[in-house]
Subunit: 457 residues, 2 copies
Amino acid sequence: MTLNQVQFAVLGQLFHTPVKGDFEYLPQALVCIDNLGNILSVTTDDDSGFDANIQQLEQAGKLTRLTDSQYLMPGMVDLHVHAPQWPQAGKGLDLPLYDWLQDYTFPLEAKFADNSFAQPMYRSAVETLLANGTTSAVYFATIHNEASVTLAKTCLELGQRGFVGKINMDDASQCPDYYLEDTVQGLADTEQFIQDVLALPGNEQRLVSPVVTPRFVPSCTPQMLKGLGELTTKYKCHVQTHCSESDWARDYSLEHYGKSDVAIYQEMGLLTRKTILAHSIFLSDDDCEAIKATGASIAHCPLSNMYFANAAMKTREILDKDLHVGLGTDISGAPVPSVFHTCLDAVNHSRVREDGTNTHLPAPERGEAGSRISFLESYWMATVGGGLAIDTKVGLFAPEYAFDALIIDTQAPDSDLFVIPELDTPRDRLEKIIALNRRTNVRKVYVQGKQVINKDA
Amino acid sequence: MTLNQVQFAVLGQLFHTPVKGDFEYLPQALVCIDNLGNILSVTTDDDSGFDANIQQLEQAGKLTRLTDSQYLMPGMVDLHVHAPQWPQAGKGLDLPLYDWLQDYTFPLEAKFADNSFAQPMYRSAVETLLANGTTSAVYFATIHNEASVTLAKTCLELGQRGFVGKINMDDASQCPDYYLEDTVQGLADTEQFIQDVLALPGNEQRLVSPVVTPRFVPSCTPQMLKGLGELTTKYKCHVQTHCSESDWARDYSLEHYGKSDVAIYQEMGLLTRKTILAHSIFLSDDDCEAIKATGASIAHCPLSNMYFANAAMKTREILDKDLHVGLGTDISGAPVPSVFHTCLDAVNHSRVREDGTNTHLPAPERGEAGSRISFLESYWMATVGGGLAIDTKVGLFAPEYAFDALIIDTQAPDSDLFVIPELDTPRDRLEKIIALNRRTNVRKVYVQGKQVINKDA
């Protein structure tokens, strides 16, 4: 490493989870970032030349030193966000799904036909996620091309790694008449959207990627799904959709296609290494095998599942089978725009699943023994798992990975984090941060080596 | 009302829930507070002399005007907090209860034998709760008198309405040998603790109350429970304890006493109008009748239940039976020190209970239909329900109620609240605040008319 290769370096405490279910804590790590925003090296005082490198970097004005209350941590990956629903986050979540969709969600999404309505809403969504530490987000937009491109532009402008999908919904029997597209036109629009996002000025490094996005099986005709599969192949696109989210959705596919969502997506050319399946509650063993064989990923959205999924995801089994799996906030099927919170929710829901809920049943019949997951597994999903799902080298501090990173300060203003050095081991501190990190604790955010949030400026 | 009677007044938007399941929004309310910190009047421009009163108060320098993004809301009531566990909030919550107690909780609580250890820990706990908007807190301390009095003093000093219990644990077969008291000495200590708290300088208005606190049935001998019942009668004390929290706890009582926790507490003189029963998961119909007949209350701790209760509380039925019920964070059986968050958790857990978790069961056998609760019911529990439980006039804006109140600002620094005036009805705004309020949004906190937090100073 020569000094010229280093754009800047960060020196301080570091947490990450290279191994699922475990963590690494470095009390004093030096992370050097190259001119493209990728990590050149991660060294400690076990490495030769450590002190000399620090001195050199400091003299060159390239070194950021963290304080004792600050931690360098990987940026969070949110695998499932409905960006146009951000304006309603928190509203109506005590309603049944049908009412919530008809009374709140579809009317709101339909407003994005007006790009001037969309602009401030998308700006707020991206700003909010970044300020909470989400460096990569996988977004459902709406059926509207102009506003969906606006979302992609907003990610570029604010510096977030964005995966943006114009939604497809063309089955008139399942979609409201005011929020529906024609099959042929919808496919043409989607191809145009893909081309527009790839050609966006400033997107030469592909910070923002287009995503093929059938809303879910019931909202699309078979022709639409088939056409989207062809576009996926043609453009080697990422794909995102909802998968077996509820009893109703699972049954719809069985009734109309005689097979599961996973099998339908696979048949249509929509199940690839770059496919992200949100929810995936009612997966069969065959479904899991197909997902594993293709290297597709699951976006686990635990809080939203509590509201709308009718059951708990088999997170324990999915982790044990080594499927690719990360976390999603599912804004606004859940209200909280922080993947740290999603980590807590994932642990919570796994605990509820393990013990069950029904006091009228004897304990052995109530839950599913052995289904809990740990905080460390949850945090792994939010970082490394998310990086695998978007097929991008993020979520870890290692050479060649993009420097998508957070500086978390446990002594930020109005913070709930109470770290007690003499009582808290590194693992304790990491668990406290996962459980109680709030937006205020996220002081600086870097994406691809660029500082996009600095609250201490 | 004469000007002299008014200590100060607040003018602005106001939310509260006088009727369970409903809410009241006043776009421009004038709340006048008397010299003792109680509410004199709540008026709107429908009331005669409204404008003249405002002018008079303003000229006298007694008026606080809220901005368009600020809301006057009742202070939150936290019915179940283990204050000495605050230092470990977030640690080990993916462990089974036994491990969490033996490896984390009991060793930490035992440290409170040292009052100099206790002081900064209790200060942090009370400061944190106040900063999150908790104006009344019902605290378990530890078995140690000196440190428990320190907690009471800390509430007084920082201005929080506190209900503080020195814990009783005297059954050597169920308690660790390093964290155990003698029966006779424990009872004497408890009486001394009650007297000490009542006699604290500055506690003439009884801002802080002593609470008789058997940890739970298994940790106490029958002699201890009986003695505590006598102290309860003698001093007309509040009582708090854990009640039927888990399969194991319920079974322990049935095996050792042949009756339920509620029946045991009633027999021992511990079930009164001023008793707060934390958790109360496995209640029989008889238990519910006894609770209702005495006017005792339930502290519902939904997030903690997800970790440790083995099942979901029958919240829907308890609300419908009109039992007294409020919310508890159960720090650190759950990590989040905000009752706003507990409101969200209560809705979440009721939804999980309604739908169930086990994907291997058919939907009708999976959950318990009709068991969901609403955001408004949850918020009612956090305010009005909490006030009923502590038998104190708080939780509402009405004459003769104490002015325990919050000024919530949806445009606070680093806030996640995104209120859109042209899209959000008052109900929408309230639901957003319940779901997404964070510590930063709590700008000012008043207890008994005294401003104890002001983040805009």
